[in-house]
Amino acid sequence: AQTVTQSQPEMSVQEAETVTLSCTYDTSESDYYLFWYKQPPSRQMILVIRQEAYKQQNATENRFSVNFQKAAKSFSLKISDSQLGDAAMYFCAYRSRNTGKLIFGQGTTLQVKP
């Protein structure tokens, strides 16, 4: 069975600085998707960025980028120029190619200090 691990329960960053959130996963599959979701106190899950395992190029969405290391089964999220609105819980998630269900890590709470 696939598992997702986020080893940092809490992280903090100064506004305008850069922070990296870690995620590792375990799978025997070769084709899958990886995601980072943001969950603010409103509970609304928001998709931040996604990566397809067969693509070697790291995904980027504005200030958010990932470092995808397939052999190491690592998928970290880098947030550049952190903003107060980035404060939230961040979840890493895995999805097999042939099924829709997402497997989530335990989450990292990000605090942004003004």
């Binding site: 998707y33 509970r43 998709l47 996604r50 397809e52 099924t99 829709g100 269900k101 335990q106």
Partner: protein
């Protein structure tokens, strides 16, 4: 258009009572998912509906949990004889088709069992 909606937003029930949670997916979305999120934890997959296919119930924690979906619209998650450990936020998500990798989440229902 409208996003995924869930009702009620909050539900308090006594131990041993049955509860029904409702999810209205985005119109036209064929896939619908239920997840459970315990306090401070990641999301756990419960059940997944895809069109007319048999649902994937592999995440349901016990036979007290069941879910139905009417065609490609509303879904109801039912928990019978609720226990205190059922207290959690129940999140619903929908996506446009099986191979679509983006799930759109509702705001969740916070269930408290006293």
């Amino acid at each position: 258009g409208a996003g995924v909606s869930q009702s009620p937003s909050n539900k308090v029930t006594e131990k041993g009572k049955d509860v029904e949670l409702r999810c209205d997916p985005i119109s036209g979305h064929t896939a619908l998912y239920w997840y459970r999120q315990r306090l401070g934890q990641g999301l756990e997959f419960l059940i997944y509906f895809q069109g007319n296919s048999a649902p994937d119930k592999s995440g349901l924690p016990s036979d007290r949990f069941s879910a139905e979906r009417t065609g490609e619209s509303v879904s109801t998650l039912t928990i019978q004889r609720t226990q205190q450990e059922d207290s959690a936020v129940y999140l619903c998500a929908s996506s446009s088709d099986r191979v679509s990798y983006e799930q759109y989440f509702g705001p969740g229902t916070r269930l408290t069992v006293t």
